[in-house]
């Protein structure tokens, strides 16, 4: 049962890049942007019941918030004409306001014109700048550059820099339903939903998609990432559209949703990080941000409404987990989590990814030292969370065929019911979380971090998390034999869960317990200045950073393993 991972060469499913949906979309970018703007406008007017007074209020709120954002939280990536644009909006609003003689209908028309300008601007801003040539170039740079680094590090001797003995696939293993996702990508539209722990995830997933021979996926990337030029290049090349988390006004959010929905309907495979942001605690996402997810359900319903009931109009949800020994941003993520007082608040995104130097340093370490990554591709589901087969047909728990369209029907017709779709989105969110837990792949480092933290917590049963983190280091020691025995108990339970299909385990967990522990200690948070878990001089387990230990421990949260202690 040792490392039995086989490297595959995946042929591209659509060899001609002209056929890639994302290329087609780029070709029709202008029309698409206009279409999104118009549809978003329609959607907003529906939401406010075409009432000019409410529209006025929403416009004023948006204007106020945008002006505040420009003043208080400007970013490099913001365009220069923002000030003048919102100044114009302000003037238009004032002018409409001053014309007291306007009829209700005329007023609505006037406000609609302002709304239209705003949705057009947002739509243009969100739209991706995908260029197939950039994509090819980036892909080659990533693959070539990385494999040079890798071979330089692993193959000894002169000329190792040009060896091809190791490829990126030795470093990053792809497991799970790879054949299915390739198959379905030729038939319908894929929405990949990965767990999110690191800013590198999007680059990683972009690379995975290309290794699997699939055309690029589009995805919403945080606009803050475009502040860093190296990322901006990657993101554009990978088909990213921009999501600005500072803008929380109705008009922006509706334009964003419309963009996502229409891109899916266009046939673009998409990538959502359904957690919305990187997991601060290191826990696998349990509550998903449902905004973008709801666009998958809307797009599916819209396809049915238009009579596209065959597989070509079907949308497939594919959960993916990314499994690491080491998360570069862990120290700042966990600090964020700990200082969070239970309420959602704004995070300043900075430190580790603040400059290209740090990123390059990390990448170099990553490729020249250990720390493998595995990416598990889950089984595809329809938008209701039913598994689908190779042909894209949905099946219920008993393997009977399900017609997804029927979820959207009443009295024999496909109907639009926003409240129903909201419930469906929640159901889908729950199913994705369930699948995350099933395909999550346990590494030695997760096991040792989990067990060590639980043992320390059990020893200090009366303390809460914050007390534990403040404990002096000499109190944070666990005897090796005790630790080893506890690891065995936890591992047995993990294998029991695996037999039930509730979790997955890396092949290295089939070694002897001493080897597993050694492997885990070598890898857990290996590049952090302060290591979460080490063996001290006496051969016992100690931690240099309790909050990091907590972070890596959290990866195994949600399986009831805590009860073992």
């Amino acid at each position: 049962m040792e490392e039995n991972y086989i490297k595959h060469q995946y042929a591209p499913i659509l060899p001609k890049k002209d056929e890639w949906p994302v290329v087609k979309l780029a070709r029709e970018r202008k029309e698409f942007v206009n279409k999104v703007a118009a549809l978003a406008e329609e959607r907003i007017l529906d939401l406010i019941g075409k009432n000019p007074e409410i529209l006025k209020e929403e416009l004023e709120t948006t204007l106020y918030r945008e002006k505040l954002r420009i003043k208080q939280n400007p970013w490099d990536v913001d365009p220069d004409d923002e000030g003048p644009f919102w100044g114009e909006v302000k003037n238009s609003l004032l002018q409409i306001h001053s014309e007291v003689s306007l009829t209700k209908a005329k007023k609505l028309e006037a406000y609609k014109a302002v709304l239209s300008k705003i949705t057009s601007r947002y739509s243009e801003e969100i739209a991706s700048n995908f260029k197939a040539t950039h994509y090819k170039f980036t892909r080659r740079v990533v693959t070539y550059g990385f494999s040079r680094l890798l071979n330089a590090a692993r193959v000894k001797g002169f000329g190792s820099l040009f060896s091809n003995q190791y490829t990126l696939q030795d470093k990053i293993q792809i497991t799970g339903q790879t054949a299915q996702i390739r198959e379905l990508a030729t038939k319908g539209t894929i929405i990949m939903v990965p767990t999110h722990f690191s800013n590198l995830d999007s680059v990683l997933i972009g690379w995975i998609i290309s290794v699997l021979g699939m055309p690029p996926f589009i995805y919403g990337a945080g606009l803050n990432l475009f502040n860093i030029s190296i990322f901006a290049y990657f993101m554009n090349a990978l088909g990213a559209y921009k999501v600005d988390r500072r803008k929380k006004n109705l008009m922006y959010l509706e334009t964003l949703k419309t963009y996502s929905k229409e891109a899916i309907r266009f046939g673009c495979h998409s990538l959502f990080f359904p957690g919305g942001t990187r997991s601060r605690s290191g826990i696998i996402e349990s509550k998903l941000k449902l905004g973008l997810l709801s666009t998958a359900i809307e797009a599916q319903r819209a396809n049915f409404q238009q009579g596209i009931s065959d597989v070509s109009g079907k949308i497939f949800i594919v959960p993916v987990t990314i499994n690491y020994h080491f998360v570069l941003e862990a120290p700042s993520l966990i600090q964020d989590y700990l200082s969070q007082t239970g309420q959602e608040r704004y995070y300043k995104e900075n430190d580790e990814f603040s400059n290209s130097y740090k990123i390059s340093k990390f990448l170099f370490k990553f490729f020249t030292k250990g720390s493998d990554i595995s990416v598990s591709i889950g089984r595809a589901m329809d938008v209701m969370g039913n598994y689908v087969d190779q042909d894209g047909k949905s099946q219920d728990k008993w393997g009977r065929e399900v017609n997804t369209e029927e979820y959207f029907m009443s009295n024999g017709k496909v109907t639009v019911d926003a409240q129903r779709e909201e419930e469906y989105t929640q159901m889908l969110g729950k199913r994705i979380v369930e699948e995350f837990h099933k395909i999550n792949r346990v590494f030695s480092s997760h096991l040792v971090a989990f067990v060590a933290f639980e043992l320390i917590q059990t020893k200090n049963a009366k303390m809460d998390l914050f007390d534990l983190i403040r404990l002096p280091q000499e109190d944070l020691v666990v005897g090796y034999e005790e630790f080893k025995a506890a690891c065995q108990v936890a591992l047995d339970k993990i294998f029991e869960l695996k037999a039930q299909g509730k979790i997955d385990a890396a092949p290295h967990l089939y070694r002897s317990m001493d080897e597993i522990i050694t492997h885990g200690l070598e890898n857990v948070g290996m590049y952090h200045a302060k290591r979460p878990l080490i063996k001290n001089k006496e051969g016992n387990l100690a931690t240099e950073d309790m909050s990091l230990l907590y972070f890596y421990h959290n990866r195994l949260h949600g399986y009831g393993l805590e009860k073992l202690f």
Binding site: R400, N403, Y407, G412, K413, Q419, R420, Y424
Partner: protein, 354 residues
């Protein structure tokens, strides 16, 4: 099947599964506005309905047609009312499962809980239950079938009064607005008010938990206690229901509604109800076995006491009425002693959940 539905312009009949007293009453109410098709398991009952317009003596609206084919019922109807006793609920749901589609709206009127047990386990051997081992009836439907748009019907609805056309009201609860609206449209009449509620779990739990208090109310009557005691019981019962409902995933506000306090008051004043009778006869000195021997159907409250008592062991909350009833029903505690215990129980606060 789906195609047949798509092409018909004629309004579909409303399906009713089960022709017990409640099912019959609901079928008759539905028949005032819509065509109705009922399902009965036995051929002779189907024939009786179709030829004599009665079911086991209860009169049915002549517009109601009967079938014993689950397939026919499901393919003809888009909206189904599942009106079956809780003991048969799982089995009937499984019978219908192959024919239920995601487009069906299913509204049930059953007050009970189903327990998920492992192989070789039964309620005698299992002493503790976690929430995920307990299912409300809507959870059973979602678990066993493809139907997702599920609702429930709950409230003080004594079948006899409904059949006599006396004024009453009910609650339709569902997470789906369309289910609530459809239920209201189909059932609302001059004599029957229909309220909507989005907290389906809370409404289902209200209907289930009130059965516990109904047994206690019967016991008080059997002991010959008066109205003061009844007022005390209803008030403390409501507090207990609120805590239990919250622990099981419902909201307190549903307990305050028609399906909770409304049904509780009605049931505690209905000497004919099975749960009340169990309590009454217990107080007169009979054992549970003796009582059950002479009852046609198990009083649902007896099961509920058992399930909730097992749930309390994992939930970390106390529910003194339920716990003491459990001891009376299953552990041979004398009912007078249980009453003594309750009178001494240190409730210090009148209302502690609002």
């Amino acid at each position: 099947m789906g195609m047949a539905l798509k092409n018909s312009s004629k309004p579909q009949p409303i399906g009713v599964i089960g022709v017990g007293s409640f099912g019959t009453a609901i079928a008759n109410m539905l028949a005032e506005k819509s065509e109705v098709m009922v399902y009965a398991r036995k051929q002779e009952v189907v024939d009786e309905i179709n030829t004599q317009h009665s079911a086991s003596g209860k009169t049915l609206n002549p517009k109601i047609r009967a079938t014993f084919s689950p397939e026919e019922l499901c393919s003809s109807c888009g909206v189904l009312f599942l009106m079956i006793p809780s003991a048969a609920f799982l089995e009937v749901t499984r019978t219908f499962a192959p024919f239920l589609h995601p487009y069906h709206l299913v509204i049930h009127g059953t007050k009970g809980l189903v327990v998920k047990l492992g192989e070789g386990e039964d309620m005698d051997s299992v002493k503790k239950l976690r929430r995920n081992q307990i299912m409300t009836m809507s959870e059973v439907i979602i678990q066993e079938t493809l139907a997702v748009r599920v609702g429930c019907l709950a409230g003080p609805n004594i079948s006899k009064e409904l059949s006599n056309d006396q004024p009453a009201a009910t609650v339709i609860a569902s997470k789906y607005n369309e289910v609530v609206q459809e239920g209201q449209r189909l059932l609302r009449s001059e004599k029957f008010q229909v309220y909507g509620n989005f907290d389906i779990i809370g409404v289902e739990l209200s209907g289930v938990l009130k059965n516990i208090i109904a047994i206690a109310a019967g016991a008080l009557a059997g002991l010959g206690l008066g109205e003061n005691a009844k007022g005390l019981l209803i008030s403390r019962g409501m507090v207990e229901m609120a805590h239990l409902s919250k622990a099981l995933g419902g909201t307190v506000s549903s307990v305050m509604g028609l399906a909770g306090i409304g049904d509780l008051v009605t049931t505690c004043n209905s000497p004919d109800s099975r749960n009340f009778t169990v309590g009454y006869r217990l107080a007169k000195g009979e054992t549970l076995d003796q009582i059950l021997e002479t009852m046609e159907e198990v009083a649902e409250g007896v099961n509920t006491v058992r399930i909730v008592d097992a749930f309390l062991k994992t939930a970390g909350i106390r529910a003194p009425i339920t716990e003491n009833l459990h001891r009376v029903l299953f552990e041979d505690l004398a009912i007078e002693e249980a009453l003594q215990f309750l009178m001494k129980y240190p409730f210090s606060v009148d209302v502690d959940f609002v």
